[in-house]
Symmetry: C2
């Protein structure tokens, strides 16, 4: 090694690193907020969370000990018990369970979706998951020719003549050119939600849907469908993106491909479950509420780690951080872990109905339900007459979030909190980086090991910082 050059190189490199840091630090200072106390308090929230948060260890338990937790499952029961017990350790003013009746759908024995006698694919198994709420196939399964479509126009163009008795295969991919992956999801998920109903209208016997993912892999992505009760309810399953590509290729090359499907799912009577709620009473306005939450249920595969164990444990962590830092909020701050976001939204509806009945005004509700990834922003929503006024005040917080790479913008919030919109308060959605979300969303790949501790914690700290500002400045009134 040539020491002179190496030394010069190391010095240059380190100097260059230091220049980045000091420049960036300086810029953060140059953008210092007018209220230094807020900047300091927010810095302390981040420092506390990055060194003392429990979000990650709670999520580990929820992922590895409780596991997935679809509404009505024993996993969901265990999740209620566990998170309530954890909230009980925080010294909150109240912790309780809010009863709610939830749907109870079960997958049953693993799906069997298989190509039959294809020249290209032989009798290949296609990795598949029944869509949530799907009816089962008849005893003995279904065997039928497959017809592929990528749009509603194409489906309607085929008409009953070409669809009756067939399995319709919806194969429009998520658009990889959208930078925000939720946009790509929004442009494809209609196939999963409405595919079975639209295909049934034309006499199809079953539906296969390309998984809602951007990656080429073997994980099928489940998710809800929406039947139309005026036509037949036909079984529907998602197949992995790789399987969708293969099936499409076989159809192109052979013209005709037969698939057999066996789904063993069933819908049982509704069961009693709970939203899990903890609160710190406001010292000034105890009857006005700020909610921070996520949904406790998950799909019945993987760990539900990103969707939405992350949002739940981050929300719990916000209250723990306030307690441990000795912060006393002006308004009552609640952590709400909603049950049944995935296949019914009963928890969110129940919570809003009870709030309405008790006259509990929610000046703000924040939901984290887009994964435990590195923070990028918050979006804000409200009833039309109020959003402009609210957002003008929110914009005043922007410089406080600049050091954390967080952008405040108008936009949607979250499914569970959306029923609170009629109260005319402020709604907000936490926006983490979206690039990896649809690699795991609603799949067996949504596991604890895909969550990064710091990314999860930065989200929790960001949510605490936002709640702090909303509370202090009473935005949403």
């Amino acid at each position: 090694m040539d020491n002179i050059n190496t030394q010069a190189a190391r010095i240059t490199r380190i100097a260059s690193i230091l220049v980045v840091f000091f420049t960036l630090s300086f810029q953060a200072n140059a953008q210092a907020p007018s209220d230094k106390a807020d900047a300091d308090f927010i810095r302390n929230i981040y420092a506390f969370t990055l060194t003392d948060s429990r979000a990650y260890s709670w999520l580990e338990h929820l992922s590895l000990r409780v596991g997935h937790r679809l509404s009505g499952s024993t996993g969901a029961d265990k999740a209620v018990t566990y998170t309530r017990a954890m909230l009980d350790t925080l010294g909150l003013d109240s912790v309780w369970l809010q009863p709610v009746m939830v749907p109870h759908w079960e997958r049953g024995d693993p799906e069997n979706v298989q190509v039959v006698g294809s020249k290209v694919l032989g009798n290949q198994q296609l990795p598949a998951l029944a869509l949530g709420g799907s009816v089962p196939t008849p005893a003995g399964g279904i065997g039928a020719d497959v017809v592929e479509v990528t749009s509603w126009e194409e489906l309607d163009g085929l008409g009953e003549r070409n669809v009756r008795g067939k399995i319709v295969f919806f194969n429009r991919p998520m658009d990889p050119t959208r930078i925000r992956t939720f946009e790509a999801y929004g442009g494809a998920v209609d196939q999963r939600v409405y595919g079975a109903a639209r295909a049934a209208k034309l006499g199809a016997v079953a539906v296969l849907v390309r998984s809602m993912g951007l990656r080429a892999d073997d994980f099928p992505h489940t998710g809800t469908l929406r039947y139309d009760s005026t036509v037949a309810l036909i079984p529907a399953a998602a197949i992995s993106t790789n399987a969708a590509e293969q099936l499409s290729r076989a159809l192109r090359e052979e013209g005709r491909v037969r698939v057999s499907m066996q789904l063993n799912c069933r819908t049982l009577p509704d069961v009693l479950s709970y939203n899990v709620i903890g609160e710190i009473r406001g010292f000034e306005k105890p009857d006005e509420f700020i909610v921070v939450g996520g949904h406790l249920d998950s799909w019945d595969v993987g760990h539900g780690a990103h969707d939405d164990g992350a949002g739940c444990t981050q929300s719990m962590d916000v209250l723990r951080t306030f307690k441990r830092m000795g912060y006393k909020p002006r308004h009552t701050v609640r952590c709400v872990l909603f049950m049944n976001e995935e296949n019914g939204l009963r928890g969110g509806l129940q919570y809003a109905a009870e709030a309405e009945r008790k006259g509990e005004y929610h000046l703000c509700a924040i939901e984290s339900d887009a994964g435990g990834f590195t923070p990028r922003g918050f979006s804000f929503d409200a009833e039309e007459s109020r959003i402009k006024g609210f957002y003008e005040r929110i914009e005043g917080f922007q410089e406080l979030f600049d050091p954390y790479g967080i952008k405040l913008a108008r936009g949607g919030s979250g499914a569970d909190i959306s029923p609170l919109k009629s109260q005319k308060g402020l709604l907000s959605g936490y926006i983490p980086d979206s690039q990896r979300y649809f690699d795991v969303h609603h799949t067996a790949a949504d596991t604890f090991d895909t969550v990064n501790k710091r990314e999860l914690e930065l989200g929790a700290a960001s949510m605490a910082a936002l709640v702090y500002l909303i509370d202090k400045y009473a935005v949403g009134k």
Copy 2:
């Protein structure tokens, strides 16, 4: 399932998603750049890259077929051959190898670092990696008591009396409260770089350094050290963060802990290697250059996937994208894969020296060497008299990058391109999200599977977009 509520819920949810998208889209439009052609071209760059990039498959080969590639190793030779061959497929105007003599340090047989007869830890092995450039331990290894310090003041306070004959254990952690992990690195890496020299001055026989990582895990992080040739050259190794915590606990509980160390590394004579270069000749100013690059060498563990296979394959992809999109740059655009960034910077120094000799003015050089993670920004640097003028022009590009979540700021650039600074052109560093980087940096965990395809591609597209603007508007002149 209650269809009415479920339907309402799904509608609400989907509507809420759509509101986010349309609002965000609208804002992107509201911030539309004055030059719509630029916005369109940049959108096309992203769309092309997200659907047709080769960066990920090149990185797969570089990671899984070539593997790690420390300067002087067969891996480095293979990497030169492979990347040159790939550049040869792109239809560039020239592809060539630029010779450079590089250091040749070898790790030799695996390290053995072991606690000896501790009550707390028994004879526990400590996961360790010799620091790059370290001398070996003498035949038979070293056995000595350990003395722990967390600052230079503490080391100097101990003085020769307490240090002579000991192994100094540098255990100052990276600061987890820094939001940008490179700041935390900058606040701790002095121990790794200067620890051996400073400890040797006081008579220490060896050095152990807590790994430069924020995660509690069992991966030791290697990296260069810098000896002081006026004092003894003593062996130095990094131990994992978990091992550092354990060793520290044993020292607290027992007062005295003995460790045995055997490092088998050696420094061989310098060997011939190469920078790999490809270029598209400028149609207007062929004698003025824009460089986009990363470093081809890596540490000798893991795959060197993030550090810096990512930067190399992104840089190659920029030229491929221009060729495939039919973009003809005004200035000559070069992709430079620098050899020996990690332990010598010889490639960077050689490139700059040759450029100087040939009078090649570089109006801009961009380096990607902070991992293949989701894009957050670019930082810009230049000689003091010029940075202000350059940066004012760069700021005009900000709105073009807003739709991609990319922030342009002043700051450092990259080690390999830093020797070009004396040309008084513009230097830039690509800044991806930094949260996961130090989980893998310089470790066996820096593997291909930790790189997300879209995140890698978004980085490549961002670099292409920046090169396009620099070229079109001739910033750096």
